[in-house]
Symmetry: C2
Subunit: 393 residues, 2 copies
């Protein structure tokens, strides 16, 4: 690719959770101002705005969020748009990358936002399911949890994954979230809590074998990144986080039409592309945020990005390889599972966490000496994936 | 800016109108396949997909349209997203430009789509109004027609524009649409029809002074462009249409907060930027498509892009300067007013028209010898504008 090196110079997020006092605009403005303030840039320096959001029109009856954020910040005369890729909001950073890399802008703002707790769980689940196949899945009543149930069942049959392995993802990510002040779910859980004698009440089935604690919560939240070309970046910080590579890939929309429905091909292709562009291998990565909207997805992705052989992710998890202090810590933020999953903001929040980790600012959950970080953000049930590789300068 | 020259090598659109037989997916697939077929590219050659759409989730309960189109075309492993900028869907071409210019892809597909006639006029009008200011306009019941009414009244008071001038835009654009097989409204109208003794029934008030024929219809439709770097483009056609410049700019979201509410500052800034990048002046442009969601907007934009002095657009219209055969023909397609206005597709359809004009393929409405074309696509009530300058190779 032709263009300039691009880096992150600021990052921030709101607490994720049930935030009745925050509407869409406030959820965008608060982290945007904080990220700009932390990066020390002048408001007038922002050359382009990219907003990632999935359901603003359907749930909050608000469109043109890019323009609305530009207006609320008082930055006029610049490009500003909304990008929607299901929950794969990290797509917005791809555009900021292209804008800054090409010289269209020198500094860009990327803000992810979702206001979900304005509607009931069934309404939100229905709208989220609107990213499934419009003929082959959605009209048959396929929801994301029901697809996850079938996906998990296949995984269990094929690779010997047990419900307790999915539970281990939840326990690990809840533990990590306890150390993250921005996380939605701050609750210590144990395998005994999830599968012991009170399992039926503590952890009821959502879509067998998927149980309540296998599913990310419905959250409100916003997250923001300040992006700059490397030369500009160095004027503002001696700790820029460099975007070394990215990749995005689509797969078949309907899960049952995939050659091997247990393989997340989009994750494999997007991550390979990102690592190839960065000139690194999966074994070089020090810390990763993967898209654990369902616990089984973290296990599957840890294989499809190449950290572990296919079918062995659950064994690595068992060994503690993916815990903080392990070989390749995954979802130190708590992940979508426990940090929360405001769909348009989650992909940006993953990158905020990696930014903190690579700058040594992930207090209490820091991966010591982390130099290279990777994020994987999914759209649909794996029909689209966006991966990024970041390096500490 | 750094990067390669970028050109259009294919363009197509569905007929715009009330298309009950076409859902969102069909409205995307039909023009996409046609544009790819006309450009003679191989399906496998598509390196990225950009879908512009405003209301898919709210009106059709469908999200992730980029992924859905990638899947329907059978092109996997590529980036594919949806861009929303109110009705400023031409934003999607900006991203395709950046993708192709940077070398991220060599060939990209840009598809605009909107399925509006699934809901009643009041529901659609409400959702369209969701791009107004979320505190200062929308909750007060401001709709796009009501804002247009106030805008037109100011224009009439300040510049001596008369209702008949707005009617002249409608008459001209309806005339042009009669020569466009893809247009929604195929109806010859006259000033007597609009303002004669039957005006109250033929052309009732919507928001005084705005009447029925001052407002674009609510349409279904899809439109698509195939974009390539110039070197690749030349392998497929000896008539590429080169993207010489583009600009996008935001303005204050709330119309009444603008210093001069009759000035479309976003249009001025975006168009100046596009022409500066292209190295041309307004007087060099041979044909233009402007965003006439309301007839008064065509008059205002014809001034703000620099074709005419501020306040003199209606005089130029009177003289026939903007008719086919005039000095600078505007909206030869029929414009949003008569070609139709499926909001996410309209901005792409404008570019399809310019593509045809610059290749000499606008049969029956051809601007003879057209070499340079300009498009202006609005978001909100002028709070965002996207301009492009195209040149015949």
């Amino acid at each position: 690719m032709i263009g300039r090196k691009v880096a992150l110079i600021g990052a921030s997020m709101t607490r994720f959770g049930n935030l009745p006092e925050m509407d869409l605009l406030k959820l965008m403005v608060e982290p945007s101002l904080a990220a700009m303030d932390l990066s020390k840039i002048d408001l007038k320096g922002v050359g382009a705005i990219f907003v990632s959001n999935m359901l603003g029109d359907a749930l909050s009856k608000q469109t043109s969020l890019g323009t609305a954020l530009s207006d609320a910040l008082g930055v006029y005369g610049i490009p500003a748009e909304r990008i929607e890729n299901g929950p794969a909001g990290a797509s917005a950073l791809r555009y900021a990358y292209l804008s800054v890399s090409s010289g269209e802008s020198n500094i860009a703002l990327v803000t992810g936002v979702e206001k979900m707790r304005v509607a009931s769980t069934d309404v939100v689940t229905d709208y989220i399911s609107s990213m499934s196949h419009p003929y082959a899945e959605y009209p048959s009543g396929a929801t994301m949890p029901s697809l996850a149930g079938m996906f998990a069942r296949l995984y269990m049959n094929k690779y010997g994954v047990k419900p307790e392995h999915m539970g281990m993802v939840a326990v690990k990510n809840h533990d990590n979230a306890l150390k993250n002040p921005y996380a939605h779910l701050k609750k210590k859980i144990t395998l005994d809590y999830l599968f012991g004698k009170d399992a039926a009440t503590n952890n009821p089935f959502v879509a067998d074998p998927i149980r309540l604690y296998d599913v990310a919560p419905i959250s409100d939240g916003g997250a923001a990144l300040v992006v700059a070309d490397l030369e500009t970046a160095k004027q503002y910080t001696d700790k820029p986080v460099i975007i070394e590579g990215y990749g995005e890939a689509t797969d078949r929309l309907a899960v049952h039409e995939r050659e091997d429905p247990t393989e997340l091909r989009a994750v494999r292709v997007a991550s390979q592309r990102a690592m190839e562009m960065a000139g690194v291998t999966p074994q070089d990565i020090d810390v990763a945020e993967l898209h654990d909207a369902f616990t089984i997805l973290e296990i599957a992705e840890s294989e499809d990005v190449g950290f572990f052989k296919k079918g062995e992710g659950h064994l690595a998890l068992e060994r503690g390889d993916t815990s903080i202090g392990g070989k390749i810590p995954i979802n130190t933020s708590g992940g979508h599972k426990a940090r929360g999953h405001p769909v348009g903001a989650s992909g940006i929040a993953q990158i905020v966490e990696i930014y903190w980790q690579l700058r040594g600012e992930a207090f209490g959950r820091q991966v010591e000496g982390a130099k290279l970080g990777l994020t994987v953000n999914l759209g649909g049930f794996g029909s689209n994936a966006v991966s990024f590789v970041f390096r500490r300068a």
